[in-house]
């Protein structure tokens, strides 16, 4: 086995499984939220992504939270605006102007 492959396995498989429970899961979830909301600093992101390389619990949370956001965006149906709505607003505004 090449050294590169060994190090890949260590980084992506062994190290992640090594930590199945995160001692700081609540704080990590807060940081994850900020990252997924695009409100994080580059430092927070770097620290978080280095952490999930080694923490199976947070790696799972990352994938789950990301999937929930995508699910909400994709599956919540958009209601079409009634055709007459803008027209009726414009009529009401005209009445206000005349008054």
């Amino acid at each position: 086995m090449t050294k590169t492959l060994q190090s890949w396995i260590k980084k992506n498989i062994i190290s992640r499984y090594a930590m199945t429970n995160c001692p700081d899961e609540e704080r990590c979830l807060h940081v994850l939220e900020v990252i997924l909301d695009n409100e994080s600093t580059p430092e927070e992101e770097q620290e978080y992504f280095e952490h999930i390389d080694q923490c199976w619990a947070c790696y799972k949370n990352y994938n789950l939270e990301k999937a929930i956001r995508e699910l909400i965006k994709r599956k919540i149906e958009k209601k079409p605006v009634p055709d007459d709505l803008v027209k009726s607003i414009k009529l009401e505004i005209e009445k206000l102007v005349i008054e």
């Binding site: 899961e25 609540e26 979830l29 807060h30 939220e33 900020v34 909301d37 695009n38 409100e39 949370n61 994938n63 789950l64 939270e65 999937a67 929930i68 956001r69 699910l71 909400i72 965006k73 599956k75 919540i76 149906e77 958009k78 209601k79 605006v81 009634p82 709505l85 803008v86 009726s88 607003i89 009401e92 505004i93 206000l96 102007v97």
Partner: protein, 198 residues
């Protein structure tokens, strides 16, 4: 309306008002209608709420600074309209006691909801109706932050202005809302047999 008192007043002629409505306000009608519908769950109420919001926007247009965030400005009026007029009329449950929520948020109970047997594969099988129900059954204040953030893409500071709450409260409310939403999705998954009953 104290909601608009922070901004400097700008004078508009009739033509300028029409220009602002066509260029900056009407393009948001789709988002406004969907927000109103998700607050009221009724097409007619949503229409009335949006119409009232645009009429208020017309009456108070001097408080709107051209080139600033029109969508957030309109959403704030709509939200206040909903609280002041529609909530009283509708059967919507009363506003949650936030002191209670904040103390719950700071307690250990909140941590219990983190560990979940919900999986990414499970979510993929969910239908739109199930996802909508999971969102719609949240209390209106929790539902609102999810809608504003995840569906409408508002930033924390914009949400703080729309909802008249500090950014810290936006973040804690969102966190709590997401825990509740995740729990709802998990319960639906369990009911539908996507997750084995323990």
């Amino acid at each position: 309306m104290n909601q608009m008192s922070e901004t400097k007043r700008q004078q508009y002629s009739v033509d300028e008002k029409a220009k602002v409505f066509d260029g900056e306000f009407y393009p948001h009608i789709d988002s406004m209608y969907n927000f109103a519908y998700r607050l009221t769950f009724d097409e007619d109420d949503a229409k009335d709420l949006v119409q009232d919001t645009y009429l208020k926007a017309f009456r108070f247009i001097e408080s709107f600074q051209e080139g600033t965030n029109a969508k957030a400005w309109l959403f704030r009026i709509l939200k206040n309209n909903f609280i002041n007029d529609f909530r009283k009329k509708s059967k919507e449950p009363s506003k949650v006691d936030y002191q209670e929520v904040e103390s719950y948020y700071n307690s250990d109970d909140v941590n219990k909801s983190i560990t979940t047997d919900l999986r990414v594969d499970t979510l993929k099988d969910m239908m739109g109706d199930e996802v909508s129900t999971a969102l719609n059954t949240l209390d209106v204040d929790f539902r609102t932050v999810i809608i504003l953030c995840d569906l409408e893409g508002f930033k924390y500071d914009e949400m703080a202005r729309i909802l008249d709450i500090p950014i810290g409260t936006v973040r804690s409310r969102l966190h709590r809302a997401r825990n509740l939403l995740r729990e709802n999705l998990r319960l639906y998954a369990k009911t539908m047999g996507y997750i084995k009953k323990s």
